[in-house]
Symmetry: C2
């Protein structure tokens, strides 16, 4: 069976990144950046490992994608991220001028939607792709963490 390169396909790749974060004791958020249906950056949250609150999956993916393309802007790229970006990451996406932003689970408290972070006018937004799977991994992480403490 040939699998189409649709949003669910790439979100699944982002979920695999989130699982890597989970396995390392990091809040499980994963991100992928594509350019012409090719994955050019993969990243997951590394805030604990790097001891750095700015080491969100998206921030690392932006840096890696720009490095790969040899240009600062990501106009023809799509970011897939398992959790709705925060102000910092949405603010970074503004500077990258990313073409499309696809996220899985919503973040009703600290996500960019509620906090009304301004995206680049050319950025299209798609939400809710594999939302349940993305949210389940996060819930499982926090339940396990609570039981350990």
């Amino acid at each position: 069976m040939i699998q189409a390169f649709d949003d669910a396909y790439f979100m699944n790749k982002a979920l695999q990144e989130a699982q890597l974060a989970f396995d390392q004791g990091e809040v499980p958020v994963g991100a992928i950046i594509t350019f012409k249906d090719q994955i050019i950056a993969r990243a997951h949250n590394l805030t604990e490992t790097l001891n750095d609150v700015t080491a969100h999956a998206e921030m690392q993916a932006f840096t890696a994608a720009a490095d790969f393309l040899g240009g600062k802007y990501l106009k023809d790229c799509t970011l897939y991220v398992t959790l709705e970006p925060c102000q910092m990451c949405a603010g970074a996406s503004y500077w990258t001028q990313i073409g499309k932003l696809v996220y899985g689970a919503s973040e009703p408290e600290r996500g960019f939607v509620k906090l009304q972070t301004k995206l680049h006018p050319k950025t299209k937004v798609v939400k809710g792709i594999l939302a349940e799977e993305c949210a389940t991994l996060l819930k499982r992480f926090f339940i396990e963490k609570r039981n350990l403490n």
Copy 2:
């Protein structure tokens, strides 16, 4: 004469960082982070050099300061930055829980004030320190750049 460690003293250090950016052809923004009146991080904008729109002075300073302290949070630290932070940098400051944010020149278009980026509730804000000097360096940069093109 003994110079007091006041906001102007540290903003002047941030301005020195901005001048380094200027000399490298970078938009001249500089940042300093202090902990108990000691400078623990110095950084300037490196978006051109690193080919990375996320390489704002503040982002680098947050990472360097957390690395120096060996802890992710900057609760007892002060950020001095020559230009009002953008959404990304203000959003990052939220995660760092920085104690105090001092900026020089205002950024009425893309600054966090107009865009209403949420800061951490414990972050105190002081604005306008050496504002004219900070703004003059930026204006000089853009005038020179325009004349070169």
